[in-house]
């Protein structure tokens, strides 16, 4: 008794003329618009907040600081926050693109590689066992945990014959995430102080990291971005399926390995800087795909820009929506991003992975 084979997405060619922007001219123009939007978000992030600040004051804060309240707010609160948001957003967008390319899984955001779960577990252990209750104490633990989890997921996904296929990677990610999550729950339930600290970290926030931490994570993010850009052509080949890709000269396993490493670097750094922000890295590649089609050279850039814009805009909203109280950015990204995402799915042709 044979079943009829279902259409195998592996052998379907990506159609590069799908998407709102067809042709490189309109894509470039669109990118300029997207970058303008990003700049707008950056400006908004610096200018908007509980304390009114004008553009002139921002200028003097950077060029001629006098120790006034405004200068302090701009230099030590808003600027670092904006920098963290920009970096984390770019990193998440790129990481999401990489993950979806190497796992060919539309459900995949960066956290599918276990990055968030790994960071959460090490943070919780650092708080519980080492009494490190401040962000500066556990930020590097988060990075190490994220990276370690990513490595474990990749290693486990490569077990057995065939190496790291998309299905096995996805399964490995799900299994490792669940296991780490369970241990994290156990620890937080056994120690109330840890729960109290952890529940605020786990919604994600751009204000916890300062310029020093952002500067420390910058090399990792830069490295990840460079690798990602270098891999875009290979990612296009990979989308055709392993056999065709090898035929075209790309080496699937190498590409997946490098791509995975870059994704872990990027997502790990973003999670360390801003806590686990789950939705952005998942949605941005889909949005990019709906707008520019299936060419990863464009998707990567667009995805990074969209993610950064979304993150910064969400942070601005989080600060002003319920003044004088504050929401957390991780909450707002989903509240704002999910409806946009649903709208996109409903209205536009979806490009299959």
């Amino acid at each position: 008794m044979k079943t009829r084979p279902r259409p195998d997405t592996a052998t379907r060619r990506p159609v590069s003329s799908i998407g709102l922007a067809r042709g490189n001219g309109s894509r470039a123009a669109g990118l300029a618009i997207a970058l303008a939007a990003l700049s707008g978000a950056v400006a908004a992030s610096i200018l908007i907040g509980a304390h009114p600040v004008s553009a002139a004051q921002v200028y003097t804060a950077f060029t001629d600081p006098t120790g006034s309240d405004t200068d302090r707010i701009v230099l030590h609160l808003r600027a670092p926050r904006t920098a963290v948001g920009l970096l984390a957003g770019l990193a998440l967008g790129a990481a999401g693109t990489l993950v979806q390319a190497i796992t060919r899984n539309p459900l995949g955001g960066p956290d599918i590689l276990g990055v968030n779960a790994g960071a959460a577990l090490t943070v919780v252990l650092a708080i519980a066992a080492l009494d490190l209750v401040s962000f500066h104490g556990y930020v590097w633990f988060a990075f190490v945990g994220a990276a370690a989890a990513g490595v474990v997921v990749y290693a486990v996904g490569s077990l057995g014959q065939g190496g790291a296929t998309p299905v096995k990677l996805a399964l490995a990610g799900a299994a490792v995430t669940a296991m780490l999550g369970a241990v994290t729950s156990a620890v937080t339930l056994l120690d109330l102080t840890t729960l109290n600290e952890f529940r605020f970290w786990s919604v994600g926030s751009l204000g916890a990291a300062d310029s020093a931490i952002a500067a420390g994570l910058l090399p990792f993010i830069a490295a990840g971005l460079v690798i990602a850009v270098a891999l875009t052509r290979s990612m296009n080949a990979l989308a055709l399926g392993d056999t065709l890709a090898s035929g075209l000269g790309a080496r699937p396993h190498l590409v997946r390995g490098l791509g995975g490493a870059a994704a872990v670097l990027l997502a790990g750094a973003a999670t360390a800087a801003a806590g686990p922000i789950g939705f952005v890295g998942l949605m941005a590649p889909h949005a990019a795909r709906a707008l520019v089609g299936a060419d990863y050279r464009w998707i990567l850039v667009w995805s990074a820009v969209i993610a950064a814009t979304l993150l910064l805009a969400a942070d601005v909203l989080a600060r002003i929506m319920v003044r004088p109280e504050e929401l957390q950015v991780g909450v707002v990204t989903a509240l704002v991003g999910a409806p946009c995402f649903l709208y996109l799915i409903r209205r536009h042709t979806l490009v299959r992975l």
Partner: protein, 346 residues
């Protein structure tokens, strides 16, 4: 409750029947859950506590206290030797109760219901919400098993079996604390001691008021708990505002409601408090000194350098237990007055 339309959309066959059946099941189960509500309302003196009649005939001999405020109130009434178990301390107990505290079993968080039954208490006193289905069960349930219960009257849930669900708690004042002391004292046969404690608290507060009579200064105070991204503050309808005002100050977060509401650093800068009290919590060995690392971090933070409290270095550690409505509240007034008017109080 379950829309048959949504079920139909989900492709469930006979959606109307399924919806009706599941609603029926829920209602029946709810009905079964409610059947234990008949409280024994027969003869014997009773005391009203949160709308529930608590039999007051015999003095309880085996007391379980949960949450810091309840634990210390039981100690204050001299009942420390009748304690069989305690749970959920926010900070170290007051030194005078330390010895009695050691003798009872201590649990870091609420023990399971079976564990509670193993201790065979005849009275459970709770400072916050312990009488929910997933903790000790409702007060009616425990009453059926012969266990009396007492809930702090400032924290009455809307209905028996519900938890501490208010995101914005109602007004809590010193009078609530006195009422609880007197009620609990009557229940446990320590009415005299309760009156003494209340009198002591009143006189402490009156003493503070006297010393403050001549000064017009009312420094702006903020009570905060530090977090990664912003601060959680005690707002206007918390007892902290009462305490601050009795101590001759003003709560700088007066326009924010609630207990531990999240605000950003910019808000803190805008409010510009003159004195900051940094809360420490949660554990049997946590005291004021645990705030020191956080205070140092705030003093070093360049963003906050313009705040009056930081410039004058008027930051103090403050235990969460002292900031809550409890027998410590009079002491809290004295302590805060000492921070606000150091020249008047040694």
């Amino acid at each position: 409750m379950v829309s048959s339309v949504s079920l139909a959309r989900a492709g469930v066959p006979f959606p109307g029947a399924v919806a009706a059946l599941s609603t029926l099941v829920l209602l029946v189960s709810a009905g079964c859950a409610d059947s234990g509500q008949d409280a024994a309302s027969d003869a014997g003196p009773t005391l009203d506590n949160c709308g529930i009649e608590v039999p007051a005939g015999e003095e309880p001999q085996r007391i379980f206290a949960s949450y810091h405020n309840a634990i210390e109130m039981v100690h204050a009434l001299g009942l420390g030797d009748r304690l069989v178990g305690t749970a959920f301390l926010d900070n170290t107990v007051l030194p005078e109760y330390a010895e009695a505290q050691e003798k009872a079993e201590y649990y870091e968080s609420l023990p399971s219901k079976e564990e509670l039954l193993r201790l065979k208490p005849d009275l459970v006193v709770s400072g916050y919400g312990s009488f929910t289905d997933d903790a000790f069960g409702s007060r009616a349930d425990l009453a059926e098993l012969g266990i009396r219960t007492w809930q702090f009257s400032s924290m009455c849930p809307a209905e028996d079996g519900l938890g501490q669900a208010d995101l914005v708690p109602g007004e809590v004042t010193m009078d609530d604390v006195y009422a609880d002391l007197e009620g609990l004292g009557e229940l446990t046969g320590t009415g005299e001691r309760a009156d003494e404690v209340v009198a002591e608290m009143r006189s402490t507060i009156d003493g503070v008021q006297e010393r403050l009579a001549d000064t017009a200064e009312r420094p702006r105070v903020g009570i905060i708990s530090t977090g990664d991204d912003g601060y959680r503050v005690l707002g206007s309808n918390d007892i902290a505002t009462d305490v601050i005002e009795l101590a001759g100050g003003e709560n700088v977060f007066d326009d924010i409601s609630g207990r531990l509401t999240q605000v950003g650093a910019e808000e803190l800068i805008a409010c510009d408090p003159e004195v900051l009290l940094v809360l420490t919590c949660c554990g049997a060995d946590v005291d004021e000194s645990d705030a020191d690392p956080e205070i140092t971090e705030m003093l070093d933070d360049p963003a906050l350098a313009g705040i009056s409290a930081i410039e004058d270095e008027r930051l103090h550690g403050f235990t969460f237990a002292t900031s809550s409505a409890s027998v410590r509240s009079a002491e809290a007034v004295e302590q805060v007055a000492g921070f606000l008017h150091p020249d008047l109080f040694e």
